[in-house]
């Protein structure tokens, strides 16, 4: 129905437009009737893959996606895409799509109906609701995450819900919270158009965020001058475009940031006015380690930085002292604009919170903040890590809109929005990702108190660190039950007891939020295959099944179903029945409900229909006196951010010290959790490659991408290879304390690691490098460090 109505509106509007253009409805240009294009319907959607949030135009013909084009009206990508984006349409058509619910019987699967599947899940939950956990994703759409959040924390009063984004950007969150008192970047992609210097901290945007990287380097083609600086652990495609490559050891970034701050203070080159007006100083409190730390004076801050001379930083980081001076000189120059970019390098880090805070600190100390082009900006890897995880708060400790379960006021507000009896929400944070899987993989009689995990839109069987301990150990545990909603068989479905086929991308409606606070919406354009269904519907249907069985939590305090939606006449729509799910726009109902939560932290969202018209809008989106909804480019900055008081210039209005100031942190350098030694003399980093996204479950099924990058490999330095009699293409065995894997060696290939470092991409489900990675986590964010595992390599 929806489709037809939209097509109708579209064609009416189009003829209207033609009429306007030509002055008469009767005249038509032959050009519009070109036979080749008339049957293709184009519509907008954000790309399915990374956190950049490019908009694509999706071409649909005969109910199938047949083409994709960069959306010229999208501010993020301005008509350009990367190779993944151009081929995103093929991701729907892998031959092995899951199309039927499957229940494990011994070592085989039996096809069951959705009705049976819902009963299986309801039985598991009813049996032990407190031992049930939901493992979600930064690929969840906002309505999907919101439904799961409400189902768990509202319906089951159970806080064991955590997303894969814990593995991805948890330290960015704690960095923002510790510094500004509120999450998410103040700047946006517009900074990339204005900066004079771009510093990439352990970041390879040429491959991981190519559209953003092009946005910068294409400025050079237009004759602009930009200085690019790559601080990294190996040479990459990004390095080739940079004027400076600062090759660092693991945790070298911490030393570098401290070294810059040291020099800014020593040379009296910091921005006195900015620091005196807008900053307090903090250091970690060893007695009570939390994001508030302890306040210190400027003198104490200065003293703490004293040891981090350029020479000492060189010793710690491996970066020459003169390069540290060069960085400090750049920050000392108030006439240039400096943008910092980072992603997994600084986040997957056992000092993740510290290094995030320190980089914000360098920008604050030097006053390189709040002017277009002057911004510390963290990027995300998933399309809705910001929208769904950080804003909807699908984390074990959080509630929607920047609230936390531990805060009684926040719980009360949520109970009011959800119309739940007071005291429903559990004040105790649930298990974070690593704990959740550890509990699940521990036998019940040994204290493992999670029995059932429902996984949606992610692939923990490939992406968790130390897989043997945190995932593979589930095998053979009879009382543990794994439910997986996915679109293809994955490393996770290997151990699944119940597999649910999901609809993906333009097979369903969706709303997501990208790295620059931009909320983006799209409509369903094609039907999912077989019995595959929306993840939101799956959550809704299980909730309804529990409600029908009389499970008290699934009703609000007036006895109405938790996810009740009424039509124009006021009567409830049975959206939990699949054939009625699209009778209403369920996404819109959930979004409008969720939108109320966004005001507390001034992350105001506009009504759903505003996003239908736009190529995304950056929050806070505030209604103007003329009825228009206006987005915000630069947060905390007067004139751009409507919540900044006039005359203040910059106001950190969510300051954790309640004085409108940001916190400038000192954190002492600490070595990585695992450092190379005699037995394991090489440092292994893991990551992505241009062609594959996340665990490769979609991109591996796209022929153009999988042929270009058909398997994982290990990048080695030729000298390390020679020492081990390894030649290009040789099969080698890579070993860590946790596992062993055989891969082909690639010398002088895509990336070029220095001596002592190796790199392995994690996209290959047949070569699970995460069986080798370390599961040590950051003390504040609980995010693991995938970038520094000690390994040894021998020729096979």
């Amino acid at each position: 129905m929806q489709q037809d109505r939209r097509s109708f509106i579209r064609s009416t509007a189009m003829s209207a437009a033609t009429a306007i253009a030509s002055g008469t409805g009767a005249f038509s240009l032959p050009i519009l009737n070109a036979a080749e294009t008339s049957s293709v319907e184009w519509n907008k959607a954000p790309c399915r893959f990374c956190g950049t949030g490019c908009h694509v135009q999706v071409g649909v013909e005969n109910g199938k996606v047949v083409a994709v084009a960069g959306d010229k009206d999208a501010e993020v990508n301005k008509g350009l895409l990367c190779v993944k984006g151009y081929h995103v349409g093929s991701a729907l058509y892998g031959k092995d799509r899951l199309t039927q619910p499957l229940l494990r019987r011994g070592d085989k699967y039996e096809e069951i109906t959705w009705d049976q599947a819902l009963d299986v899940i309801a039985d598991r939950i009813e049996g032990a609701p407190e031992r049930f956990a939901f493992y979600g994703s930064g690929q969840w759409t906002i309505p999907e995450g919101y439904a799961a959040q409400k189902f768990m924390k509202g319906g089951l009063a159970n806080n064991h819900i955590d997303p894969n984004a814990r593995l991805c950007m948890a330290s960015a969150v704690t960095g923002f919270l510790a510094t500004y008192g509120v999450d998410e970047p103040a700047g946006c992609y517009d900074d990339l158009d204005r900066c004079d210097v771009l510093i990439m901290w352990g970041n390879n945007p040429a491959e991981m965020h190519p559209v953003l990287f092009s946005r910068v380097i294409d400025r050079r083609s237009r004759g602009e001058k930009i200085e690019l600086i790559d601080i990294g652990t190996r040479r990459t495609r990004t390095t080739e475009q940079c004027q400076h490559y600062l090759e660092m050891k693991g945790h070298g970034d911490v030393a570098i940031a401290l070294g810059i701050a040291h020099l800014l203070i020593k040379n009296d080159a910091y921005d006195h006015q900015f620091v005196e007006s807008f900053c307090n100083f903090k250091s970690p409190d060893p007695e009570n380690p939390n994001l508030h730390g302890k306040s210190i004076s400027f003198e104490e801050y200065k003293q703490s930085l004293e040891p981090y001379t350029p020479e000492y930083v060189e010793e710690l980081s491996g970066v020459p002292a003169e390069k540290i001076r060069m960085l400090a000189d750049l920050f000392a120059n108030p006439d240039i604009r400096i943008t910092s970019l980072w992603c997994m390098g600084m986040n997957q880090h056992t000092m993740g919170t510290a290094i995030n805070s320190l980089v914000h600190g360098v920008h604050l100390l030097s006053g390189h903040f709040g002017k277009p082009g002057d911004a510390p900006t963290s990027l995300t890897g998933q399309p809705s890590a910001c929208g769904t995880v950080r804003e909807v708060g699908t984390l074990a400790h959080a509630l929607p809109g920047g609230r936390v379960v531990a805060n009684p006021e926040h719980r009360q507000q949520c109970e009011a929005f959800w119309n739940l009896p007071a005291g429903t929400i559990n004040p105790q944070p649930g298990y974070h990702t690593v704990e959740m899987w550890e509990q699940f993989c521990t036998p019940s009689d040994e204290g493992g108190d999670i029995d059932t995990i429902w996984v949606q839109v992610t692939n923990p069987g490939q992406t968790l660190p130390n897989l043997r301990k945190l995932f593979n150990a589930k095998e053979g545990l009879e009382d543990k039950f794994l439910i997986v909603s996915d679109v293809y068989p994955t490393a996770t479905t290997r151990l699944a007891d119940l597999i649910l086929p999901s609809a993906m991308w333009v097979e369903k409606n969706g709303v997501v939020g990208n790295s620059e606070r931009r909320t983006q919406q799209w409509f369903k354009m094609v039907e999912p295959p077989g019995d595959a269904r929306d993840d939101t519907w799956q959550t809704l249907a299980v909730a309804r099944r529990l409600f029908d069985r009389g499970y008290a939590g699934m009703s609000d305090k007036d006895g109405r179903f938790l996810f009740e939606v009424v039509d124009e006449t006021g009567s409830p729509v049975p959206a939990w029945q699949w054939e009625h799910y699209y009778d209403v726009n369920f996404d819109k109902h959930l979004f409008e409900e969720y939108r109320q939560f966004s005001r507390l932290k001034h992350k105001d969202l506009a009504p759903y229909d505003e996003y239908v018209k736009a190529r995304g809008m950056r929050w806070p989106v505030v209604e103007q006196p003329d009825g228009n909804w206006e987005e915000t480019r630069f947060r905390f900055v007067e004139k751009d951010d409507p919540y900044v008081k006039a005359g203040t210039g910059i106001q950190f209005y969510h300051s954790s010290t309640k004085d409108d100031r940001a916190q400038l942190w000192f954190h002492p350098y600490e070595p990585p959790a695992e450092v190379p030694d005699e037995t394991y003399p090489l440092m292994m980093t893991t990551g992505r490659v241009l062609e594959h996204w996340h665990s490769g479950s979609m991109t591996r099924r796209i022929p153009e991408l999988s042929r270009a990058m058909p398997s994982a490999y290990v990048e080695m330095n030729p000298d390390d290879a020679r020492d081990r009699d390894i030649r290009n293409g040789d099969l080698v065995s890579i070993r860590s304390r946790r596992g062993e894997l055989q891969l082909q060696a690639w010398l002088n290939g895509r990336g070029r690691p220095p001596r002592g470092t190796v790199f392995v991409p994690f996209f290959d489900e047949t070569l699970l490098i995460n069986e080798l990675t370390l599961d040590a986590v950051d003390p504040f964010s609980k995010q693991p460090d995938y970038k520094k595992s000690a390994v040894e390599i021998v020729k096979v």
């Binding site: 070109a34 092009s214 153009e704 895509r750």
Partner: protein, 284 residues
Amino acid sequence: MSSSPKQINRVNEAAPAPPGFAQRYAVLLVLVLIGTATTGYFIGLTSPMTASSGQPSPTSVAVHLAEPAHATSKVIPATAYADMSAVRAQRFRQQGLPLAALRKQPEDPFAEIEIDESKKLDSLASREEIRAYNGAPPTVPHPIDQLDTAACMACHGEGLKSASLRASKMPHPYYSNCTQCHVEQQANFVFASAVFENSFTGLKAPTSGSRAYTGAPPVIPHSTWMRNDCLSCHGRVAAPGMQSTHPWRANCLQCHGESSQLNQDKFEEIPQFLAVPVLLDINE
């Protein structure tokens, strides 16, 4: 000036070497050449490129990829440097090209070009083989430098065409990260660890633009976004049958209309903006 012819004469007189001198040098040169070649051969034998057993040759990779990429492709796959000479010789043999043919006179730039319809369809078919759909960035049918994109510009900056090879001209020269969109059609360095089938069917390319009447200039049947240099595909380095009949005319859009729909121009986007009424106050 009377002295200059004398000087020239002196130079000329000095040039001829004593007899036997040239011979001695020729023998020395030959010896050096043989020596270098022999040393080079043995170094070559022991170098990692050929000695490593694990290094897959381009053919072994093709075997390991269950579905060899575009087996029927008209695009000539480029060759690893090591195999270059052998392949080149073979290609000349196959195509029966005597080296003398390369010494052809340059083409008349103003000669009228006749379009062979069947060659055009052939070219469209091979074009389709290296793309997922019409409008997708083409994949690269030869090995690429993994780090540096400047190498792309050497051949594709202006495009080139020889008797046996054609490098298309980049139609959008202001994008500087080539590998962001264009990836190798087939990786040359590792085995495929798994192969998944896919049933995506891409949008077909139009075979011609429509004409308002016989003899009218055809409209452009594709988007001109990122294809704004018409001569990249329709100029002198074009694939057979794709050339313009009149490549010397420089202002293509003078006669050939674009499609605002295909170009995503604003007024075709009205459905996305309909709900915002734009009220103009005439008095303001």
